[in-house]
């Protein structure tokens, strides 16, 4: 049975990819707790962590990957590529979760903090009874977008070619790309269907129940209880089923209660840290000698000289224009849609779960189709790039906008109603001010995602077919460097790009955000 065999292969590939993403997600959550909580609690840590997250978020993941791959292969030649893939997925999932944790912990009412100070709880008790539960909503609401983001880059990180060398890991990214290369349309469509089904199941079985559970841990009070919607009813049923199954398998698994034995996270944490430190020490002291490091440094300096100053600036200019156009377009539709979703309580209940599922759709899987369609139909290539960037970023904006709107206290709504404000007045006096910080936060994340996607959108090798905008672009530069196996050039271009993005964040976004927070008077 060839069909059955093929289907099993697809299922196994999805399973492998999912396993990779799950490991990365768990690492992301641990990382976010380790970083987000101290940043929210301690001013000094905040001053270090938030800019660092900013920088990390702005480094284009895909350009980072060959470098990471190189490092991980030095660490271990066999599992290196696997670790590198997990690492790449981690870098695509972690930052928004870390921001989410930071934001949620910041929302802890001061009285509660004082109370826990007065009780003189130990660090661990304080973590387990206050900070981690408080961080829970921030983690939960970021799971679907993080998963979507991981999925987006999964396809790109399972196969990587650096010059002559090629690594490919068994997974759905590799499999679907091989289908496209072989022109096996039916199998390609089948793999798409399986992925979408898996995404839907993951959302229904895991993310939606977790998010519902996290509602309880929120500090803002909701005026009225939100009735369950059809899709959540399905998910509630499915999660009950899953729980029943997991209970019958092992009565001790309490995944859905989230009751981890209190010692476990600490042990996990220490182990993770120990592993990272050992690996780093090992790689630095044992395998890479000082001479090699020096040679690298020289190569990189030389690459910078080759690039010059004008060319990178022109490339960045083009890329910035592309990302800005995509973000502007995303804002154009997400702003009214978010407000509409919010205003019609009915819409929210249907659209949010639906959007989470649609947003989790792996755009990179259909990216080859966009590229092919744009080329075949003779549409402008820039349109294709715009579409690809949009696919990678717009959902963030929508999620952030909805998040901002959902935080509106009921009393403020009621005051607007009592003052008989029109919709436009309400938009101006309530929605926009309340949304402003999340809007800017969303724009920051959206731009970050946009820069990331550039690496694919400006130039990508799709089997026999090369998608290439032709016009300048920093993402295109990165892609060419990867193609030529020119690691030094890649690092130089990455530093240019990341440097510019960091500058933009520092000089523009962060300031805007702080201004907005100050103006609105709510963090």
């Amino acid at each position: 049975m060839a069909i059955l065999e093929e289907l099993l292969t697809i299922l196994a590939a999805v399973g492998m990819s999912w396993a990779r993403m799950t490991v990365a997600l768990i690492v992301s959550i641990i990382f976010s707790l380790c970083v987000g909580i101290p940043a929210a609690v301690n001013r000094v840590v905040e001053k270090i962590v938030i800019p660092a997250l900013d920088i990390l978020q702005s480094i284009p993941i895909l350009s980072f990957f060959p470098i990471a791959l190189y490092v991980f292969i030095i660490i271990h030649p066999v599992i290196g590529p696997e670790l590198a893939a997990i690492f790449l997925i981690f870098t695509s999932q972690a930052w928004n979760i870390a921001f989410g944790v930071y934001k949620s912990v910041r929302l802890i009412p001061p009285e509660l903090l004082e109370a826990s100070n007065a009780l003189d709880l130990g660090l661990w008790r304080r973590l387990s009874s206050l900070y981690i539960p408080a961080a829970f909503p921030g983690i939960a609401s970021n799971l679907p977008p993080s998963w979507a983001n991981g999925l987006y880059f999964l396809v790109a990180c399972e196969i990587i070619t650096i010059g002559e060398a090629e690594w490919s890991l068994f997974g759905i990214g590799t499999l679907s790309t091989s289908y496209i290369m072989a022109g096996r349309v039916i199998e390609f469509i089948a793999s798409l269907v399986v992925v979408v089904a898996a995404v839907i199941l993951t959302n229904l079985l895991v993310f939606i129940p977790v998010m519902r559970l996290s509602e309880r841990y929120k500090f803002e009070e909701r005026a009225a209880e939100i009735p369950r919607v059809w899709i959540e009813r399905v998910s509630g049923w499915l999660s009950r089923m899953a729980r029943r199954i997991s209970f019958s398998l092992s009565p001790r698994i309490t995944l859905f209660e989230l009751r981890i034995p209190s010692g476990a996270p600490r042990i996990l944490l220490i182990t993770a840290l120990a592993v990272v430190v050992t690996l780093l020490g090992h790689s630095i002291s044992g395998r890479v000698s000082a001479g090699v490091t020096l040679a690298w440094a020289q190569d990189i300096v030389e690459a910078f000289q080759r690039l010059g100053v004008v060319d990178p600036l022109v490339m960045i200019g083009f890329s910035l224009a592309r990302v800005s156009a995509a973000v502007a377009f995303a804002l154009l539709w997400t702003l009214p849609v978010a407000i509409l979703i919010y205003e019609k309580g009915m819409l929210e209940k249907i659209l949010i779960p639906l959007f989470q599922i649609i947003a989790s759709f792996p755009a990179t899987l259909i990216l080859p189709l966009i590229a092919k369609a744009v080329v075949d139909l003779g549409l402008p290539l820039e349109l294709g790039a715009l579409l690809m960037i949009l696919l990678g970023t717009q959902w963030y904006l929508l999620f952030f906008l909805l998040d901002g709107l959902r935080g509106i206290p009921y009393e403020e709504e009621e005051v607007c109603k009592a003052l008989a404000m029109t919709r436009l007045q309400k938009l101006r006096h309530l929605y926009l001010p309340r949304m402003l910080p999340s809007l800017i936060m969303g724009l920051i994340v959206c731009f970050g995602g946009g820069w990331n996607t550039l690496v694919i959108a400006e130039r990508a090798i799709l089997g026999e077919f090369t998608w290439d905008l032709g016009s300048p672009g920093i993402g295109r530069m990165l892609s060419i460097a990867v193609d030529e196996g020119d690691l030094a050039l890649l690092i130089a271009a990455t530093i240019w790009m990341a440097g510019f993005i960091v500058l933009l964040n520092r000089l523009l976004w962060r300031r805007l955000y702080e201004k907005a927070v100050k103006m609105v008077g709510v963090a």
């Binding site: 206290p409 009621e414 005051v415 109603k417 009592a418 003052l419 007045q425 006096h429 309530l430 008077g521």
Partner: protein, 258 residues
């Protein structure tokens, strides 16, 4: 006696039926055929066990909630939606943190198309002066104490010069001294015939506060709320809390409540 003697209703509730729908499809009945009047120049108090629907009643009076059945008539006409002619002060001040005190008050003049921006500022200042907050007009809500926020909320409820002022436990979150001075202010405003509001409806669980301020106190029963009794307070103002007559009224209300 106090106040003008035009004893016509300014607000009439006729046979109000209302319930909240819960998520399990249940419907909790709050009002099952409730009728009451608020007359011109009257200060009405509403008392009742907690959860009986006092806040809901205030919201129905403000046009924020539509009853399932029955009519709400304001100055003889059906009340379809909130109007600037009715001012409302909620239990929490609910000020917009991004606007200054002055801007928060001016927000209630949003429908005054005939007023220029300067007129609006002038008008808002008059009411801020009345509640004793002139010095704080450019402060932000976060910089104010609870009592000051309540004063801003009062100024905002009054700046549109409403005929009717609705207050839902307005002084319950304030310290006793602030509450005393705000009660005085509300009473003198209401007594001042050249100033709004003509009539006041106040929900409170502080029975002495009700007896001190109200002409008529409507005591509600448990859900679904019915009128357990109406107490007319016939004492000269300002009323002395320590007098035996005062306590006669307080006791009468407690009896109705239990």
């Amino acid at each position: 006696m106090n106040g003008p003697s035009i004893k016509e209703p300014i607000l009439e509730l006729r046979n109000i039926v209302f319930g909240y729908r819960l998520r399990k499809g249940e419907n909790i009945r709050i009002f099952d055929d409730l009728s009451l009047d608020v007359k011109y120049a009257e200060f009405i108090g509403i008392a009742g066990p907690s959860g009986c629907g006092k806040s809901t009643l205030i919201r129905i009076m403000a046009g924020l909630i539509k009853p399932e059945k029955g009519e709400v008539l304001f100055r003889g006409k059906p009340l379809k939606k909130p109007t600037p002619r009715i001012g409302i002060m909620f239990q929490s001040p609910a000020l917009f943190p991004w606007y200054t005190v002055l801007e928060n008050v001016m927000l209630a003049l949003i429908h005054e198309k005939d007023l220029s921006e300067n007129d609006k500022i002038e008008r808002a200042r008059v009411f801020l002066d009345m509640v004793g907050l002139t010095a704080f007009e450019s402060a932000y809500p976060a910089e104010l104490s609870g009592g000051m926020k309540a004063r801003v909320a009062l100024a905002r409820a009054l700046v549109s010069q409403p005929d009717l002022l609705l207050m839902d436990e307005p002084f319950s979150n304030l310290d006793p001294l602030t509450a005393i001075s705000l009660r005085r202010e509300v009473e003198s405003l209401w007594l001042n015939q050249s100033m709004p509001p003509s009539s006041v409806v106040m929900v409170s669980h502080d029975i002495e506060e009700l007896v001190e301020l109200c002409d008529r106190i409507i005591v509600l029963t448990k859900r679904p709320a019915k009128i357990a009794g109406v107490v007319e307070v016939d004492l000269d103002r300002p009323r002395q809390r320590r007098s035996p007559e005062f306590y006669k009224y307080v006791d009468e209300i407690y009896t109705l409540l239990s």
